[in-house]
């Protein structure tokens, strides 16, 4: 098996926001099928899931029939809309990781349909396989060995052989601690979870996934902080926590997600990790993003700004239910395809037109929510530059938190970012908390007070 080690990023791929735009990445990815991601064209990335049904041995025939029908419907739309290429993502449901044979059967089924489409139409496609990270719960022995780890590795290796082009994951190392932190808006604990515990796990996880990629030819793609930053985003949307806290978590999460690329991932970063724009700014690897087209899966305050630097444009996920226009995944694909046409038409007109469309995406959202503000391309480039100057993951996390809070305070004071009274109060409270963050990772770990944290699972 190949051996992969971590190479820490020391600089940024984009010094200014001028070339930081959708469809173009400094380090494009070419898949086995010849799809060039980040090479100048934005492609749809369609994700889908089952309608309410159990996944068991008894239902597997129905499950596979569902996936086949979904994939066929998508290919039909792709042909009708003359898309230049697309990516399909399968996120395995927990039973499909606990029973790899089920997840791999789904992977093969969808890969077969995509292969038939490619052969018939000469249009490249790619299949992203994202195993559900099952390393949670009372049965987990350890993050890096034992049944749960072995099953994930089995799914990744098996998927590469079963036709998956891109390997991704939404890993959960540190999440049990972050879940507590997010409920209390405890900045110190959140930073520790995201930049001490999560990177410790990701380094092990991603060097292993990258080795599988090297051995099989599949592309190790990326790892979103969905369980961290999207949890915060959803809780903020429900008015459970302040939006400014969710915005800070998003940027600090970039430190965590960057580790995947430092350990061999090459992009495209997975769709629901909005912090992926920071990963692109630092590494130049392409990124999948989801915005207004993901309204079928969850609310977000970043529906337009999320598209500014997208190389793949995604819907997050949609259940296979029947709509007036057809199955929901087909409908969702159509929406993605039209958005991509617009992105690519702007690109074809030249850099000025692309930047103009990008800036409209940014300006239409950014001033309304701090979570949108931190996705502005100019803000991303600025904060990313600050983050990589810090030495070590924890120091990067502290820098990310402080720089983000400073940016939000500046934008709010300048009247560019609207925050209500409660949010402004929390911005002050979080700024004070940022000033008091522990000086280093050892102190942060020593100060960790979490019932959920089991140091043994991290070899600590």
């Amino acid at each position: 098996m190949a051996v992969v080690t971590r190479t820490v990023a020391r600089g940024v791929a984009y010094a200014t926001a001028d070339d930081f735009v959708f469809g173009r990445a400094a380090r494009p990815v070419t898949t086995r099928s010849g799809l060039v991601i980040g090479g100048g064209t934005v492609f749809p990335e369609i994700n889908f899931t089952l309608p309410p049904m159990l996944v068991t041995d008894a239902t597997m025939a129905d499950v596979l029939a569902q996936y086949r029908a979904i994939a066929e419907g998508i290919c039909e739309r792709a042909a009708a809309l003359q898309v230049p290429g697309f990516v399909a993502e399968i996120e395995t449901l927990p039973p499909m990781t606990f029973h790899p044979e089920w997840g791999l059967a789904v992977c093969r089924t969808v890969a077969d349909v995509l292969g038939e489409f490619e052969a018939a139409h000469g249009v490249p496609t790619a299949l992203r396989l994202t195993p559900n990270d099952i390393r949670e719960g009372r049965d987990l022995e350890h993050l890096w060995h034992g049944r749960h780890w072995d099953l994930i590795m089995e799914v990744c290796a098996g998927a590469a052989a079963a036709g998956a082009d891109l390997l991704a994951i939404e890993s959960v190392g540190g999440k049990e601690v972050h879940d507590e932190a997010v409920m209390y808006c405890d900045l110190a604990t959140a930073v520790t979870a995201l930049t001490v515990l999560a990177p410790r796990d990701m380094e092990r996880l991603w060097t292993a996934i990258a080795a599988i990629g090297a051995d099989t030819g599949a592309t190790p793609a990326g790892d979103t902080a969905c369980g961290f930053a999207n949890t915060a985003m959803v809780l903020a949307e429900r008015h459970y926590i302040p939006r400014v806290f969710a915005a800070v978590v998003r940027v600090v999460a970039a430190v965590r997600s960057l580790v995947a690329v430092e350990c061999g991932a090459r992009g495209p970063h997975t769709d629901c990790g909005y912090e992926g724009v920071y990963v692109k700014a630092v590494t130049g690897t392409p990124v999948a993003m989801e915005g207004r087209t993901a309204a079928c899966a969850h609310f977000s305050p970043v529906g337009n700004v999320a598209g500014c630097v997208a190389d793949l444009w995604s819907n997050e996920s949609v259940q296979n239910v029947k709509l007036l226009a057809g199955p929901a995944p087909s409908v969702s694909f159509e929406q993605l395809a039209y958005d991509c046409r617009l992105f690519n038409t702007a690109t074809a007109r030249g850099p000025a037109a692309a930047r103009a469309l990008r800036d409209l995406h940014s300006e239409s959202d950014a001033g309304l929510d701090p979570q949108a503000w931190v996705l502005r391309p100019d803000v991303v480039v600025r904060l990313a530059g600050a983050i990589v100057t810090a030495d070590g993951d924890y120091a990067r996390g502290v820098t990310a938190a402080r720089a983000t809070l400073e940016e939000l305070r500046r934008a709010h004071a300048a009247g560019e970012l609207a925050l209500d009274g409660r949010e402004a109060d929390w911005l002050d409270a979080l700024s004070r908390a940022a000033d008091d963050l522990p000086p280093d990772a050892a102190a942060a770990l020593a100060g960790l007070d979490s019932e959920a944290f089991d140091p043994k699972k991290y070899d600590l």
């Binding site: 049904m53 449901l93 009372r138 409920m183 209390y184 459970y240 926590i241 929390w426």
Partner: protein, 211 residues
């Protein structure tokens, strides 16, 4: 302001030290433990719950208040037992088999405790059998089942059926919740109630006690 009113305020502000000091002061003044619980701790938590429902405070403020409430209840407990005061009701809660998402479940637990319930938390990924065992062992008034995924919500039906098969269906009210769960689904699987959020779940559980 009386000691009980100050206690009510201190809970809402999540000031644990003040809560403990005010309980001691109240007991010294001869205030009945039940009054300190109901008019101080639980009233304060109830008022904060209303403010939370009206989007006037965030969860961290409610959690700090819940922490103060729990510490205060702990301090009062021996006096309450002495006085023969019982919890308003008992709830057993958990996420169903295959579902590891527990933030919603934890919020419901917090709101139930804030409403005066004793809560037994079974955690995540709980099998139908463990839920049945807990109903037998704990004899709760309410059983709360949480599911976040479309592929795990079916387990709520399995649990309802298991409780029925064990001959316990008339002993406990079953509440269901979670992002994909709907009132129709609740009715379809034979559960007793559905709540769209944590505050509503506590209100519904309280209402169930009166039925």
């Amino acid at each position: 302001m009386t000691t009980v009113e100050s206690l009510c305020e201190a809970v809402q502000k999540g000031k644990t030290k003040d809560v403990l000091a005010l309980i001691e002061a109240g007991l010294d003044e001869g205030v009945a433990p039940e009054e300190l619980l109901n008019e101080g701790l639980l009233k304060g938590m109830g008022l904060l719950g209303v403010r939370f429902k009206n989007n006037e405070v965030f969860v961290p403020e409610v959690l700090l208040a819940a922490r103060a409430l729990n510490k205060g209840t702990e301090l009062l407990k021996p006096k309450l037992i002495e006085a023969g005061v019982e919890a308003k009701g008992k709830a057993v809660i958990g996420t169903v088999l295959g579902d590891l998402h527990d933030i919603g479940k934890n919020l419901v637990k917090m709101m139930l405790e804030g409403s005066g319930f004793e809560v037994v938390d079974l955690g995540v990924d709980v099998s139908d059998q463990r839920f049945v065992e807990a109903v037998v062992a704990e004899a709760p008034d309410v059983l709360c089942l949480s599911a976040l995924l479309t592929t795990t919500m079916g387990q709520q039906k399995t649990v309802v059926a298991a409780v029925e098969a064990a001959g316990l269906r008339d002993k406990v009210k079953i509440l269901v919740g979670g992002a994909p769960v709907t009132p129709n689904f609740c009715a379809e699987i034979g559960a007793d109630g559905y709540a769209p959020d944590a505050a509503s779940a506590a209100e519904l559980a309280t209402a169930m006690l009166e039925r």
